[in-house]
Amino acid sequence: MAERPEDLNLPNAVITRIIKEALPDGVNVSKEARRAISQAASVFVLYATSCANNFAMKAKRKTLNATDVMSAMEEMEFERFLQPLRESLEAYKKGQKGKKEASEQKRKDAKEKKNDTGENDKSRDDEEEEEERMEEDQEVENEVEEEEVEN
């Protein structure tokens, strides 16, 4: 993906919606304020990443994990985020588990089907991977579209 400076901004439409939902109804947020919050959010990501990375390095790991991000929040004195973050991680893990079970079931079904048709199992796996990749690309495209509308 080409790295343009605007790739490092978060989508304005989503940021605006989050701000609106957080504030009481009918509050007017100036355009300058919205842009400032959006930039602040990008800086927050970088700051959190840098803190989390320090924790990963201390533990001699190269990959940032959930614990590193949680420790970073504590260090940045955003303890108030810890509880909602834990909940969100739990929900995510549950979702992943459900997804995995569903795809295992799908695979099982596919295998049974394969036995009927005598199709190659490996090629089916490849197909599934390809599908996932396409979904990801689709997501990115939607984002770009959204931003263009916004600008």
Binding site: D7, V14, A66, V69
Partner: protein, 118 residues
């Protein structure tokens, strides 16, 4: 025009519980040179934390700000909050308080800048 899009967006967010695009957050994280890889849970948490941060910053600035009476959130509310709140201190570089040139010149007169500092 964007009605369908917003709806699609909401649906997409429900599946992961976040509304900001994780791909974009990942790109920002990866723009930091010392970071080599990020697992999916760390990415999810950072995305969620960023949303919480946006809410928290907006609400803090609104409650601290002078615009409560007029029901507005302005840039100066944000800049003041960044400066006055300990946890938002890291934002002071990108949320500087705005001052008039007139006031700045006065400030310079009263506090002459040492040439060596520049």
């Amino acid at each position: 025009m964007s009605g369908n899009k917003v709806e699609a967006d909401v649906n997409a967010s429900n599946s992961k519980g976040v509304s900001l695009p994780m791909a974009r957050v990942k790109l920002i994280m990866k723009s930091s040179p010392e970071v080599s890889s990020i697992n999916q849970e760390a990415l999810l948490l950072t995305t969620k934390a960023t949303e919480l941060f946006v809410q928290y910053l907006a609400v803090s600035a609104f409650l601290n700000g002078s615009g409560k009476a007029e029901n507005t959130l302005s840039y100066s509310d944000l800049a003041n909050t960044a400066e006055e709140t300990e946890t938002f201190q890291f934002l002071t570089d990108i949320l500087p308080r705005k001052i008039l040139v007139r006031d700045y010149l006065k400030f310079l007169e009263e506090n002459p800048v040492d040439e060596a500092d520049n």
